[in-house]
């Protein structure tokens, strides 16, 4: 039988842990508990709820307004791990500098990042967006069309990335990818990157941007790019989307090829 005094002595430890990890607790509450609760109450999926909110609050045809509405929903109502406004700014800047003509996006989720990329593309550029989940893809399609991007600009492919990447050259007639944005399963970052290398779609100067490399994190991916020597790379340090205290990073890779 442990005496109560010894148990009381653990209070400082408990307090320390609570304070240290408060952001993670908040995140857990918003991303998991609230989601389960709302799923039970409304009977809709999280993405559908987000779509409803966007539909009722945003101006159709205006990507800016759609993005803002998304940000409001994600920070005030519920949590969806989009790229978020802060890291989005970095992404916008990279796109502006690069002005790529062929862009591949892995993991469209519900279309936030697709809209974000598509709006800063130059004229005549084409964005291929991959989404594995069919239900999410439906939402993403709606959001993209709502933002006013047609089939010529954005092509949504509903398939897992490891199936699509080998077919990009043959089925979609791509010669070279100028820009790749990765925001799907963190475990797939590395195999997909290697697949892209193998497919020969990356040329000198192609840029690959991978979100969430620190939290939830893709350690294998980071280790690989550190070692491979094919890339010039850096990690943009930022915080997790819609949360202040959790550190996260976005990796920016520029393919250099074998020298």
């Amino acid at each position: 039988m442990v005496s109560p005094a010894i148990a009381l002595a653990f209070i400082p430890l408990l307090l320390t842990i609570i304070i240290r990890c408060r952001y993670y607790f908040v995140l857990f509450y918003r991303a998991v508990l609230v989601r389960i609760w709302k799923d039970c109450v409304t009977g809709l999926s999280r993405e559908e709820r987000a779509y409803q909110y966007v539909l009722t609050h945003a101006t159709p045809g205006d990507p800016e307004s759609i993005l803002d509405t998304f940000d409001v929903w994600c920070s005030k109502v519920e949590f969806i791990s989009n790229i978020g406004p802060k890291k989005g700014k970095i992404l916008d800047r990279l796109l502006m500098e690069q002005s790529p003509l062929t862009v591949l996006e892995l993991g469209a989720h519900c279309g936030y990042s697709t809209v974000r990329i598509a709006r800063s593309l130059p004229l005549g550029a084409r964005l291929y967006s991959l989404e594995m989940d069919a239900r999410n893809a439906v939402i993403a399609e709606k959001i993209i069309r709502l933002a006013g991007f047609d089939d010529d600009t954005v092509e949504l492919i509903v398939n897992p990335s490891d199936e699509v990447i080998p077919l990009l050259r043959s089925d979609y007639g791509l010669e070279r990818l100028d820009f790749v944005f990765m925001d799907h399963w963190k475990k797939c970052y590395l195999p997909d990157l290697q697949m892209l290398e193998g497919s020969g779609l990356l040329g000198k100067g192609s840029m690959i941007v991978a979100d969430n490399v620190l939290f939830p994190g893709a350690p294998k991916f980071l280790r690989y790019i550190r070692k491979s020597g094919l890339y010039e790379w850096k990690v943009h340090r930022a915080t997790l989307e819609y949360s202040k205290g959790i550190r996260d990073g976005m990796a920016e890779l520029v393919y250099q090829g074998i020298k």
């Binding site: 005094a5 009381l8 400082p12 320390t16 939290f215 350690p219 550190r247």
Partner: protein
């Protein structure tokens, strides 16, 4: 340096003939040329000189050089004049090497020059002198070189002799000076404990073990019959009972015999004096170190020109091994980071009201936390007293060890909470460290004093017990005496085995045991936290990272940082316990030396293997004195209870070196009476008369006051002088700037003039010459650009007193005169020569 040299050169030029000037010039800029080139050039110049019709002496000299080159150092074949010449050249080279550092050349050129000059000197130095003399000369040179090498090796050896120096340097280069300061402190503490250990071991433990009565002769040196069966059990020994209790390790074992062995060693006196001596020595060392540190920090002029200092003086040119160079590189980078951070910190200004509010809030929270922990400990101590009254056997292990557990748990967790709270305050890390130290200090102090109060209660209990036992023993002895005496008065008294003799509780040994146990449990806690908190965590983070859903290394648990404040305080409080308990347990310094030794290696390893450098590295050299101040406070606070017990509580009647005396310090009086002549004790009694002591104390206070006020006035004078120097500096800078500006305009004018004068000459000159002309332009422009260096170097905070301001104002003139020596021919001849060589080589 450079200016001086050139000045000197110009002076010489004025004095000597043109030949000398010529050679000197060549020597000065001859860095790029090996002797061979010189010879070649000389030949070339000879051909050319036909057209330019220069001085004949130079050509002669060149021929000579050529000759020496071709003959490949055969000094026997040289004439005395040639030798003289060679000697002079060697001297020049040496001078060049010496003054090289001040030359405004690129580093590459300097290096090349240095190497070539050294080669030249090495080659021709031995050639000087003739026959025997030459050999002697060569021998001398060789010896001087050997000597230098030996000196360098000796320096290395000296560094290697400082214990753990390389380890600490390595840590410093990786973790910054704050972590290194902890290890330096640890080393310092180790040194002090070593001396304390030598004192107690050499003057108390060893004499008693060798010369005192052996184990088992008298009751205090024997395990009692009741405890004998379990006296060798590990559990008992681990608690320092059984055989460990009845050994030299503890106070109770010592006999009150006045002199022991054939040496007539005064054991009780020695025991007392060592006890006093350890404390006195500690006070002395701590205060002396504090004073020295204060001196160092007071004089330092680091604040101005910080970055220039770092840029120009950071690298250690003596480093010879690549690993050390890497470390040095890392450490310089770290120190730059520190400096930049410091600069940023000093520039920062935020919302002051918000910060103030947050700071007050943080302090409030910390106070709440302290009060809570204090109450908890108080509660636990009260409860444990209640348990002790009821009898410990009826309670569980948890309840019996409640006080220790709660104390160590609070000591472990509360600092973590403080750390989290201090994030609110937004202090500079060094200040934050001091706050953190202060808070943990308060916490530990509370814990320690609660412990002492509990001990005091126990001492009182033991003394009550002692009274009863004393009474019992007298009745026991009386009954014994009666039993033997009534039968037969002449029969020898019945002897009892010492283990059977009843004895008192001996509170001194009890106190010693408590302290030893505390030290042991503290050490265990430290090592276990180190192994679990750092090592296990590092292992988990490293290897679980392969199969975890987020990045453990960069993300949440990460590797731990080295906790400087906690470790320093642990060390300081540990030392306080040693000081407190050393009188009652002479083994404590030995234990502490062991502990420090182990923790030095363990922590060095742990910090290099499982910790990451702090995110905000900072300079902690200033905090050394803070540690010292805390140590002093702890020293005072820990000697207080020890002295109190020594002075007020009478020693136990049947154990320890002072048994049978009223007070422990009576031993001094006893020695004075019996070991010294009568007059001495008389003098002593006079001297200890309050009428003499009070004036003496008064005098001391006055002296201290006087010294303090003088030191204050010196400090003020220092500050004033510093200010003066600074203003003077600024003035000089201004003057220099003006002079430089003037010199520049003059130079430009002069160049324009010479160019217009030369234009017609250029037309019929060879293309080579034209090239040289360009080169000259380049060179002069370089010279022009090279103007700023004096002022720049002046800025970087060299102690201004070393450079007299007067010659500096002269420099521009000398420069100018160098830049365009009137008479046209000379500068052009000189500059082209300087630059033509490489261009020719290129062709």
């Amino acid at each position: 340096m450079e200016e001086e040299e050139e000045e000197r050169n110009t002076k010489k030029k004025k004095k000597h003939g043109s030949a000398k000037r010529e050679r000197e010039e060549r020597e000065e800029d001859g860095g790029k040329r090996t002797v061979k080139e010189k010879a070649r050039e000389g030949r070339r110049r000879k051909h050319k000189r036909v057209e330019t019709s220069s001085e004949p002496e130079t050509s002669e000299e060149d021929e000579l050089k050529e000759e020496t080159e071709e003959s490949d150092v055969r000094p026997e074949s040289l004439t005395p004049e040639e030798l003289e010449m060679l000697k002079e050249a060697v001297e020049e080279k040496k001078k060049l090497v010496q003054g090289l550092r001040g030359k405004p050349w690129p580093m590459k050129k300097k290096l090349v020059t240095l190497r070539e000059s050294q080669e030249f000197v090495e080659k021709y130095e031995g050639a000087l002198g003739k026959g025997k003399g030459r050999k002697l000369y060569a021998y001398k040179v060789m010896m001087s070189k050997k000597w230098m090498k030996f000196q360098r090796d000796f320096e290395n050896f000296k560094t290697a002799c400082i214990p753990w120096e390389m380890k600490i340097k390595e840590i410093e280069s990786h973790f910054g000076s704050s972590v290194a300061s902890y290890f330096i402190f640890l080393r310092w503490m180790y040194g002090i404990n070593m001396i304390l250990f030598c004192l107690t071991f050499g003057l108390v433990m060893v004499p008693e073990a060798l010369m005192g009565r052996p184990y088992g002769t008298i009751p205090r040196k024997t395990v009692p019959r009741a405890e004998a069966p379990s006296a060798m059990d590990f559990a008992v020994l681990w608690d320092f009972g059984g055989y460990a209790q009845y050994s030299v390790l503890f106070y109770g074992y010592y006999n009150n015999q006045r002199a022991i062995g054939w040496l007539k060693f005064r054991m009780p006196l020695s025991y007392f004096l060592v006890g006093v001596g350890t404390v006195a020595y500690s006070y002395m060392v701590v205060i002396r170190t504090m004073a020295r540190n204060a001196n160092e920090s007071g004089v330092g002029d680091d604040n101005s020109f910080n970055f220039s200092w770092k840029i120009f003086t950071s690298w250690d040119y003596l480093i010879g091994n690549p690993e050390t160079a890497d470390n040095k590189f890392a450490s310089i980078t770290t120190s730059f980071k520190e400096a930049i951070l410091e600069e940023q910190e000093s520039r920062k200004d935020d919302n002051i009201h918000l910060t103030r509010f947050l700071r007050v809030l943080a302090n409030f929270l910390v106070l709440c936390c302290l009060a809570g922990s204090g109450y908890l400990i108080y509660f636990v101590v009260r409860r444990s007293q209640k348990f002790a009254l009821e009898g410990l056997e009826t309670h569980t292990w948890w309840e019996r060890n409640e006080v220790n557990m709660v104390m160590s748990l609070l000591g472990m967790f509360c600092p973590m909470l403080f750390d989290v709270i201090s994030a609110l305050e937004n202090y500079h890390p060094r200040v934050a460290l001091q706050w953190q130290l202060g808070r943990i200090f308060a916490l530990f102090l509370g814990n320690l004093y609660t412990f002492i109060i509990a001990l005091m209660d126990e001492i009182n209990l033991k003394r009550e017990e002692e009274k009863i036992i004393k009474f019992n023993i007298t009745t026991w002895e009386a009954s014994l005496y009666n039993a033997t005496g009534s039968e037969n008065s002449t029969a020898p008294p019945v002897t009892f085995h010492p283990a059977d003799v009843p004895r008192g509780p001996c509170w001194e040994t009890m106190v010693g045991q408590e302290f030893v146990r505390l030290i042991i449990s503290d050490t265990m806690t430290t090592y276990i936290t180190l192994l679990i908190g750092d090592f296990l965590r590092a292992v988990l983070v490293r290897f679980l990272n392969y199969c975890w859903c987020w990045d453990l290394e960069a993300g949440f648990p990460s590797y731990s940082e080295f906790d400087v404040s906690g470790n320093v305080l642990g060390l300081i409080f540990n030392q306080g316990m040693i000081w407190m308990g050393a009188f009652y347990a002479p083994c404590l310094p030995a234990l502490n030396v062991l502990r420090l030794h182990v923790s030095m290696y363990l922590q060095c390893w742990a910090v290099m293997c499982c910790n990451v450098p702090q995110e905000r590295v900072f300079k902690a050299s200033g905090s050394n004195n803070f540690y010292m101040a805390m140590l002093l406070v702890i020293l005072f606070l820990s000697t207080l209870p020890a002295i109190y017990t020594i002075v007020t509580i009478p020693p136990s009647f049947d154990c320890g070196p002072f048994s049978g005396k009223k007070r422990m310090f009576d031993v001094i009086q006893e020695t004075l009476e019996s070991d010294f002549p009568a007059w001495f004790s008389k003098v002593f009694s006079y001297a200890s008369n309050p009428g003499l002591v009070l004036p003496f104390i008064l005098l001391m206070v006055l002296a201290i006051y006087y010294l303090q006020s003088t030191s204050k006035s010196y400090k003020e004078a220092n500050v004033d002088l510093k200010k003066k120097l600074q203003t003077q500096n600024e003035e000089n800078k201004r003057k220099n700037k003006l002079a430089a500006l003037k010199a520049q305009t003059d130079l430009e004018e002069a160049r324009a003039a010479t160019q217009t004068a030369e234009r017609p000459k250029n037309n019929n000159a060879s293309p080579q010459r034209q090239h040289a002309e360009e080169e000259e332009d380049l060179g002069s422009s370089q010279r022009k650009n090279g103007r700023p260096p004096p002022s720049v170097r002046h800025q970087d905070g060299r102690p201004p007193a070393t450079r007299a301001p007067v010659p500096r104002t002269l420099h521009p003139e000398t420069h100018r005169s160098l830049g365009y020596l009137p008479g046209g021919g000379f500068p052009q001849q000189r500059e082209p020569r300087m630059h033509r060589v490489p261009s020719l080589q290129r062709h």
